[in-house]
């Protein structure tokens, strides 16, 4: 039996920039105003999928249909502030018996799949890369678990509180080699990434600022996996940091760096790359209002909400302008197919693809973007998709596109391919590729002539290995 696509999918309007819209994209007031669908910019399945790619790890069919019915702002309400019993879910998942960091990876991936608040996990993943800490150096799974739990608890709250907490996080200090900071020899290993990566960004501080900040953090130690402050080791003398003078402590340094305009700009820029577009950096003028607002309270939820609700987010400037990370790629297959798989195996496979949770490669986290894609990782993505969809092997029969298609009323050789294209790509596919897909998926059915499970698996595999599916 040959799978056929019954009719061409709807013309994708997400990529089309209406001339009237083009002019407005650079206008901050219009760009950051809340998106209201209209005839020129309608609310489509593709837009709903785009939202779920960025604010979650993909969506299943019911979520996509509900989003279409709810419209963008109501869907966002649910993603930003879900009504489900998140506390109960978090309690269950926080009570994990810490084994190794490897088991933590698997537990977190399971949490990403099942969470009723996917945006929270998505943002936790963002901060995990921002405050990148590698478990191989920390060598203490419990400390790593505590750090990620801390990041989760602050992922959509105050960056100020998060930064202060991270400056006292044993795992972070061990990872950076800053577990001992004596006044006789101030340790710059935390002060430097604090300014360069966590706040100001390169070019916005001097070497002297780093040295003086390091002096301010003297007295802090990690002894036997616990944070300790030893007053006699603190340098209480006068310091000068970013133009301010005083007998500063570590908390003062946090305050000072957060007072700098560059910090808010750097963070807004980074979040812009995560939520909106990683291919082109935004103009300073475009993000200026966001940075100004963010600098007032460092409220992450407010910033994320502004970005996600904006006209810019639902414009071609954002659509398909990110390359899916390995986690996004794999969960983008798992979530639509409504299954839960072996995350122990998945964690290992994602590590092979370059995203080893709990083991970010450097203090700067995962570079992302085009770095996710090369000839080797494309072959591995292909193999991972095959393993997930083949119905046997380490992932077993947990993901079955044919069952999902039937569940949603698409049980014919004509309707199933269309359904899967809508499910995985929200119908957004070039006509020539769409025409080629059935040939790829062409396969004979079972002996009784009615078994579509295998052809549908092959078809789903063909879809998720398309270049389009690698984009978020």
């Amino acid at each position: 039996m040959v799978l056929q696509i019954d009719k061409p999918p709807a013309h994708d309007q997400s990529k089309q920039i209406h001339p009237a819209v083009t002019e407005k994209l650079t206008d901050p007031a219009w760009a950051w105003a809340a998106y209201q669908p209209d005839a020129q910019r309608p609310w489509t399945l593709a837009q709903a999928g785009h939202l779920y790619q960025r604010a979650a790890f993909g969506a299943n069919w019911d979520q996509l249909q509900q989003a279409l019915s709810d419209g963008p702002q109501r869907t966002l309400d649910k993603l930003l502030r879900p009504q489900a019993d998140i506390a109960a879910f978090n309690r269950t998942y926080d009570e994990y018996d810490t084994g190794s960091a490897d088991s933590l990876r698997a537990w977190w991936l399971r949490r990403m799949i099942l969470t009723p608040h996917p945006l929270l996990e998505k943002m936790t993943l963002f901060w995990h890369s921002h405050f990148a800490t590698n478990s191989a150096n920390v060598k203490n799974a419990r400390l790593m678990q505590q750090q990620v739990q801390f990041l989760r608890s602050h992922a959509l709250n105050s960056y100020r509180a998060m930064l202060k907490g991270i400056s006292r996080d044993p795992a972070m200090l061990i990872w950076l080699g800053a577990e001992a900071n004596r006044k006789a020899r101030p340790n710059e290993n935390f002060a430097r990434p604090l300014m360069e990566t966590f706040t100001l960004g390169p070019g916005n501080f001097t070497e002297k600022d780093v040295q003086e900040a390091a002096r301010s953090f003297t007295g802090w130690f990690v002894l036997r996996s616990q944070l300790r402050y030893i007053p006699r080791e603190h340098d209480g003398n006068l310091k000068q940091i970013l133009g301010q003078k005083g007998n500063f402590t570590g908390d003062d340094v946090i305050r000072i760096v957060l007072e700098q305009r560059a910090t808010a700009q750097t963070l807004v820029h980074k979040l812009y790359r995560w939520l909106i577009c990683e291919t082109e950096g935004p103009d300073a003028e475009l993000i200026a209002p966001l940075a100004k607002s963010f600098a007032k309270d460092y409220d992450i939820l407010k910033l994320a909400e502004k970005m996600l609700r904006s006209n810019l987010f639902f414009s071609p400037v954002a659509y398909h302008r990110r390359i899916k990370s390995p986690v996004e790629f794999a969960l983008g297959i798992v979530k639509p197919l409504e299954g839960v798989i072996s995350t122990t195996q998945l964690a290992q496979d994602l590590a092979d693809l370059g995203q080893n949770l709990y083991y970010p490669p450097t203090v700067k986290g995962w570079t992302g973007g085009r770095h996710w894609i090369n000839s080797a990782t494309m072959v591995r993505r292909h193999n991972l998709a095959l393993a997930l969809l083949k119905g046997s092997g380490p992932y077993g029969d947990k993901l079955n596109p044919w069952t999902v298609a039937k569940k949603h009323g698409c049980s014919t050789p004509e309707s199933t391919p269309r359904f899967l294209i809508d499910l995985f790509l929200q119908g957004d596919i070039e006509p020539d590729v769409r025409d080629a897909l059935p040939k790829i998926a062409k396969a004979s059915a079972g002996a009784d002539g009615g078994d579509l499970a295998e052809p549908v698996r092959r078809f789903a595999h063909a879809i998720v290995t398309l270049p389009e599916f690698q984009l978020a």
């Binding site: 088991s103 036997r224 839960v340």
Partner: protein, 586 residues
């Protein structure tokens, strides 16, 4: 085949897998209808004995008392199953136990033949009941086929004087007197019917290997299994498994004598006996007895009366292993045994040279051990004052017997303290807490323990996994005990003193003995239930409910086991193994 029908067929086969006495007078023994090229055959000659054990009052009461059973009993699927059983009972006019006994009482023969052909021959005691039962299945199959609009799926054909049936176009079966013959493909049934027609033609019973295996299995077994190893060893997975164990030093040491015997054998025979709450499996292979010049001779007791010592008995014991292994001969033969692992073994030897102050590992260290190695695994008892880890590992200990304890004790003590020192230094480099060494007494025996201090830790109920370990070295009498905890070391010191006083006899001719205590196994599984459930969730992708059901089933099965004992040795020129399983049906 529908799920329901599948269930009935499966039930039938299970039922049939439990009896035999005298088949229909006019029919020859069922094994004479099995083709000579069968690779594996299973003959259940006295199914009633197994039925009585597994579906008797005790077993039924034990199973129905399980929380897991009670949980399942309330599910719609289970109710559907019970309805089916009721239906069967009414139609056959008997209760299910009697029905089962009558349908399978003549015995069951199962065979796997080339080309994925599976045969099953079931001899009923009651021909009428067999016919009735077949009628029920036939009606259900027809009804199912009609539902699926494939009425022609159920059909029959005549082969000589026999009517052959198929319910799904794939399987084939026929009833001949009191006998039901089932094959997973028509060719299988045809082969059986041809053997029936030509009584004198060659069948499984005319195969020499089968005859030898049957003799080895004994005439009174409830069930016997024959496996043609010459064919099975060609299966890539089995060949790889046999090859793999010889390349891994630990596997080669542990499985020595067993793998070689299988590799050298043409058949495997297995006999099953059962008594009240007890199952005994006896396995034998025809591989040659290992020559004293063989590289694996280190595992074979050569002198008369030589063999392993019985396992040591300690409180809370989960498992115990006793091996006859001459470590000196084993390591001396390393170049023959592991020619591809030379560099790794040289590194190992160099490391041992550090611990043993430059002594030659083969001729100055391993030579000091007698060929008696024992391992004990026990559940731990935690002192609340010290603390309880979040995940509870069992304690384990290795026990060696020394040739010259008075000379070697200090050498061992020095090596052990060096190892603890190296661990402490390495941990210290990573700013991690180290082990504290103490030398307390257990009775009159001084031993050494190293432990992580828990002073300063506020919550002592939720400690890191490392607090499962309190490594200890003890040398009571001529024994050397290396234990993961001091608690187990203390118990072993007492057990070894007791053993020395009683001078136990070795188990002559036996080179390996493993014992497992079901009660303790289930206890430690219970203690780690939450961790195991979480592990199952991420490993298998199960829901929490599924994971709980999986782990609880595992725990329940462990509870059904009172104890299991596996011994392997060489007797009368054959390598033999015996597995005794005592069930806990209380």
């Amino acid at each position: 085949m529908s799920k329901r029908l599948g269930l009935i067929v499966a039930l039938t086969l299970v039922v049939f897998a439990a009896q035999n006495t005298m088949a229909a007078q006019s029919l020859p023994p069922a094994n004479q209808w099995i083709p000579q090229n069968a690779v594996i055959s299973l003959e259940l000659t006295r199914p009633k004995a197994l039925l009585e054990l597994l579906s008797g009052e005790k077993a039924t009461a034990a199973i129905t008392a399980l929380p897991l059973y009670q949980k399942q009993a309330s599910t719609p699927k289970f109710k559907e199953f019970l309805n089916l059983i009721n239906f069967m009972e009414i139609t056959l006019g008997t209760d299910w136990r009697t029905g089962l006994a009558k349908l399978t009482g003549g015995g069951i023969t199962f065979a796997v033949c080339p080309e994925d052909t599976v045969l099953m021959i079931i001899d009923a005691e009651d021909e009428d009941m067999l016919q009735k039962f077949h009628e029920i299945l036939l009606n259900m199959a027809r009804s199912e086929a009609e539902k699926q609009e494939q009425p022609n799926r159920v059909e029959s054909t005549q082969y000589e004087d026999v009517t052959a049936w198929t319910f799904n176009g794939k399987e084939a079966h026929a009833i001949i007197g009191k006998r039901l013959v089932f094959a997973n493909r028509p060719e299988g049934l045809k082969a059986v019917l041809q053997l029936r027609a030509r009584a004198a033609s060659e069948n499984l019973t005319s195969k020499a290997a089968y005859q030898a295996a049957r003799r080895a299995a004994g005439p009174d077994s409830v069930a016997t299994v024959f496996a043609d190893l010459l064919i099975l060893k060609n299966i890539p997975d089995i060949a790889a498994l046999l090859e793999q164990s010889s390349g891994n030093p630990l596997a080669a040491l542990t499985l020595a004598g067993i793998v070689e015997a299988v590799r050298d054998s043409s058949w495997l025979a297995l006999g099953l006996d059962c008594g009240e709450s007890k199952l005994i499996f006896r396995a034998s292979v025809d591989g040659k007895t290992t020559a004293s010049t063989s590289p694996v001779a280190f595992a074979i007791p050569n002198k008369s009366g030589e063999g392993i010592l019985p396992n040591l008995s300690v409180p809370r014991r989960i498992a115990a292993l006793s091996l006859y292994r001459d470590l000196h001969s084993f390591y001396a033969a390393k170049d023959d045994l592991f020619p591809e692992r030379t560099s790794g073994l040289i590194f190992f030897e160099n490391m041992m040279g550090i611990f043993f102050s430059g002594r030659d590992l083969t001729n100055e260290v391993l030579i000091e051990t007698k060929p008696e190695i024992r391992l004990v695994v026990a559940e731990q008892e935690y002192d609340p004052a010290i603390g309880t880890p979040q995940v509870k590992f069992p304690a384990f200990a290795l026990i060696f017997r020394l040739r010259h304890p008075e000379q070697f004790n200090e050498v061992a003590e020095e090596a052990w303290q060096k190892a603890v020192g190296l661990i402490n230094f390495t941990r210290g480099q990573q700013a991690m807490p180290g082990l504290i060494i103490d030398r307390p007494f257990q009775g009159k025996t001084k031993y050494t323990v190293a432990y992580f201090s828990t002073s300063g830790i506020e919550d002592k109920t939720n400690l890191d996994p490392r607090f499962n370990v309190r490594p200890a070295l003890a040398m009571p009498g001529e024994y050397l005990v290396l234990s993961s905890t001091d608690g187990l070391a203390q118990d072993l010191i007492d057990a070894l003193h007791q053993e020395t006083e009683q001078t136990p006899k070795p188990l002559a001719g036996t080179h390996s003995l493993v014992e497992l205590e079901g009660g303790r196994l289930s206890s430690i599984l219970e203690a780690n239930r939450k961790t195991l459930i979480q592990g199952n969730m991420v490993d298998k992708g199960s829901t929490q409910e599924q994971a709980e059901a999986n782990i609880d089933l595992f725990i329940s099965l462990a509870k059904f086991l009172d104890r299991a004992k596996l011994s392997v040795g060489v007797q009368e020129g054959l390598t033999r193994a015996q597995l005794e399983i005592k069930l806990n049906l209380q």
